[in-house]
């Protein structure tokens, strides 16, 4: 399975579904009423991208991509915590 049967494999269909939901969530990121709404959308998109990278590692049989997914979820944790700390001392303005 090296890419030519993308629409035959169930992993390829799951990748397409996750990419479609990420594109849907970009509406919330672009037009969120407040700033925490955008952060929620970005957090969800990052988790979906981590799952897509792990699925691509299984689909293409390139197993080093799983390490990249682990690093991305750790960066997501640090970024989310820093943004939350930034909100605690900020005002309500967008």
């Amino acid at each position: 399975m090296a890419g030519e049967d993308f629409l035959v494999d169930p992993l390829g269909w799951t990748i397409l579904v996750l990419l479609a939901t990420s594109i849907i969530l970009f509406y919330r990121v672009l037009t969120g009423p407040t700033m925490p709404d955008r952060i929620v959308g970005l957090n969800t998109i990052t988790t979906k991208v981590v799952v897509v990278i792990a699925l691509m590692a299984g689909f293409l049989e390139e197993y080093f991509l799983i390490d990249l997914a682990i690093v991305l979820i750790m960066v997501n944790a640090v970024g989310g915590l820093i943004l939350a700390k930034h909100f605690e001392r900020g005002k309500k303005d967008d």
């Binding site: 849907i24 509406y27 407040t34 925490p36 988790t47 979906k48 981590v50 197993y63 700390k85 309500k92």
Partner: protein, 104 residues
Amino acid sequence: MIEYVLLLLGAAIMVLGALGILRFPDVYTRLHASTKCDTGGAMSILIATALIIPAPTMVKIKLLVLTFLIVMINPMVSHAIARGAHKSGVKPKGEVDMYARDNP
């Protein structure tokens, strides 16, 4: 067979979580949809991937480590975002008053 059921379940939960983030009224209900659906869907899809792929055992263990990290990190970040949003002055839209509902 069970791995394909887990894969379909995870994709369905992810789609429902995205719809919840689109349609819910304020940031706290959106966090509710985001946390549950994202963590559960990612866990289900990653366990299904670890069952499907023809890989050495260490690769499957790495996928399980990734599942563990998502389950630990995602609720923590959501909790921090909710705390920061409440301290920065974002109010929830709904008002819960169970006593007035029960005693009209």
